[in-house]
């Protein structure tokens, strides 16, 4: 809160304008592959930042973000498909009544996806937030699996293992980056307020926080709801980016990827999460070569599918052993920091 808020607002506006220009340029000149990568990055920023609100800021080891992504993805997808498309897809069992008829525009479907995820978070919040530590991890892991199994078996709602196909590719740079920026703004806004201080205090020492008059349930539930909402919206974006969803998309692997991102970035740091998301999603593409055959002169080394996952697992191991605080620890970017740094550099040049 130090410094002048007006100057900060101006700088933030300028940074957003710059991002807008970059996205415009990408929209014009980039190929489909690059656009897809940019969209994926934004969706993962949304997911990782909202996931970090619970795991990092509140310090609760939550292992079921894939449940909320699944709920958001299915809800949004079922709402944007037209009645005719749904009838064509649901071969094994017809889609249940109200969903059969409804067809909504994309933004409304995204909101509904987030809403359903948040509602689920609210209903499960009561049992989940009664427990802590390993127990919370196990319960949330269980919820993630329950949702996946339901998606696999509720043929009348989700079309089972066949999933939903032929979704309109509504997700473009504006939607994906717009939501990512909104998520960062909301989570950062919460973190840098009394609510965030309360969450950090609960993470540091829950007993002391209670003795200081804070109700942990209230703050954890708030974090849980906000996080679930944005994970749900991200699910909707992901569905309309890939245009085909099935339960296999939302296994524990998704949670694992998000976990690597937030640990790499630094638990509780939104800046770190954004940086780590870019590193991981782009690294994931760059590392494709390890899964393709490699030629060394006459020698042909066959590619090993899945080797990238091995590399990421090793990365996580190295992180946990040597960089437990991640790339930036709990540091957060601020304009004050940047201005101070620039000033110091200028002074250094002058002398």
């Amino acid at each position: 809160m130090a410094g002048s808020p007006r100057r900060h607002r101006l700088l933030t506006g300028a940074a957003l304008a710059l991002l807008l220009l970059l996205l415009l340029a990408a929209q014009h000149w980039a190929d489909d592959y690059f656009l897809r990568l940019l969209n994926t990055t934004a969706v993962f920023i949304t997911m990782a930042v909202s996931y970090n609100l619970i795991n990092g800021v509140c310090g609760q080891l939550h292992l079921g973000p894939n449940a909320f992504v699944t709920l958001g993805a299915y809800t949004a997808a079922l709402l944007t498909l037209t009645a005719a498309e749904k009838q064509a897809s649901f071969l094994m069992a017809p889609l249940i009544w109200p969903l059969r008829e409804i067809s909504l525009p994309f933004p409304a479907a995204l909101l509904a996806g987030g809403g359903v995820a948040a509602l689920f978070a609210y209903l499960t919040g009561f049992p989940v937030l009664r427990v802590r530590g390993d127990y919370l991890a196990i319960v949330t892991l269980g919820f993630g699996e329950v949702v996946r199994v339901l998606a696999n078996n509720l043929q009348g709602v989700t079309n089972g293992p066949m999933g939903l196909k032929g979704l309109a590719p509504y997700t473009n740079l504006w939607w994906s980056w717009g939501v990512a920026i909104l998520t960062v703004a909301v989570v950062m806004g919460l973190k840098k307020s009394g609510f965030g201080r309360a969450m950090l205090a609960i993470r540091a020492d829950e007993t002391a926080a209670k003795a200081m008059g804070l109700d942990p349930y209230r703050y954890l539930l708030l974090a849980f709801l906000v996080s679930a909402f944005f994970l749900g919206v991200a699910g909707g974006l992901l569905a309309h980016l890939i245009t085909t969803i099935s339960p296999t998309l939302f296994t524990f692997f998704l949670t694992f990827n998000l976990l690597i991102i937030i640990v790499l970035g630094g638990l509780g740091s939104i800046t770190g999460t954004v940086l780590a998301t870019i590193i991981i999603t782009w690294g994931n593409e760059w590392l494709r070569f390890v899964e393709e055959p490699i030629f060394l002169g006459n020698l042909r080394l066959p590619g090993i599918p899945g080797l990238r996952m091995v590399i990421f697992s090793l990365l996580l191991l190295v992180l946990i052993i040597f960089y437990r605080r991640g790339l930036v620890g709990s540091w957060e970017f601020s304009w004050d920091w940047l201005l101070e740094k620039l000033q110091r550099q200028k002074r250094g040049e002058a002398s």
């Binding site: 909301v186 003795a211 804070l214």
Partner: protein
């Protein structure tokens, strides 16, 4: 956490009756409070009445049940039996956060600061419990948010100044020197706006000069913030000097209650501290 039940039980009903006859209504009444963990009697038939503005000391050898009294008062334990009334309100069944909001604050024997957060933030946290903002206002940064944030900051700086912690305001609380950590715990407790302040060994680990300064500080804080103070302390010089009345616990039983002079002369107190049970 020891305490044997079969001991000769001493009832202090007479004292309690005499004290409840005073004119001003007491701030705190603990009546026949009992706390047992399974078969272990941590506190038995405990009675305590605090008049507003009183500075009361709770002493006794290790494991006598002193911290148990604090945990009962602040809602971390629920009494097995007995009654606890604070400012005319029954505390039984209330959660720690609800009791804190009614005006009771505490410090901890083994310092429990929010170690990664700055000294200033440590004092800001308890203020949040009185926030009237919704999360929307905070996220949208409405004028109401800035107003409240400003009021919290002003209050926090005032408390830091009062406890001479200003120079360390931006430092992580965990990196403060020990004495300052103890003072920060008091600042943080005061930020909740308490009427009753519970201090668990505030002078532990302080040198004689620091401990003398703390004595003076507590007297001033009591006057300035209209506090009633209940403190646990092993430092006898400290306790005898600062407290108006004392309660002595041993193995969960109250063995003496009265002015420092009376307590010092009580043969049972002398036995508990120097006798076969070992000292503090």
């Amino acid at each position: 956490m020891m305490g044997l039940s079969g001991r000769g039980q001493d009832r202090l009903k007479a004292t309690v009756a005499a004290e409840s006859a005073t004119e001003t209504p007491p701030l705190l009444v603990m009546q026949a409070v009992q706390m047992s963990f399974g078969g272990l009697m941590a506190l038995n038939d405990f009675n305590l009445i605090l008049a507003p503005g009183e500075l009361h000391g709770l002493i006794g050898p290790n494991g006598a049940g002193k911290t148990t009294v604090f945990n009962l008062l602040t809602g971390f334990y629920q009494p097995t039996e007995g009654e606890i009334r604070f400012a005319g309100c029954d505390l039984r069944g209330l959660a720690p956060q609800a009791i804190s909001r009614r005006g009771m604050a505490r410090t901890f024997q083994n310092i429990r600061l929010f170690a990664d957060m700055s000294v200033l933030e440590n004092v800001l946290v308890p203020l949040q419990s009185r926030s009237g903002l919704s999360c929307w206002q905070a996220v949208l940064r409405t004028p109401g948010f800035w107003r409240e944030e400003k009021a919290f900051w002003d209050r926090a700086w005032e408390l830091l100044a009062r406890l001479e912690l200003e120079p360390w305001a931006q430092m992580p609380a965990g990196r403060l020197p020990y004495g300052q950590q103890r003072r920060l715990e008091i600042a943080r407790a005061l930020a909740t706006g308490p009427r009753l302040l519970l201090l668990d060994e505030p002078a532990a680990g302080l040198n004689p000069q620091e401990s003398a300064a703390l004595m003076e500080l507590l007297q001033e804080l009591r006057k300035d913030y209209h506090l009633t103070i209940l403190l646990i302390e092993h430092n006898m010089k400290f306790v005898m000097h600062i407290c108006e009345r004392l309660t002595v616990l041993d193995h969960g039983l109250t063995i003496a209650q009265g002015s420092p002079g009376e307590v010092r002369a009580d043969p049972r107190v002398i036995r508990a501290y120097l006798g076969e049970d070992g000292g503090a």
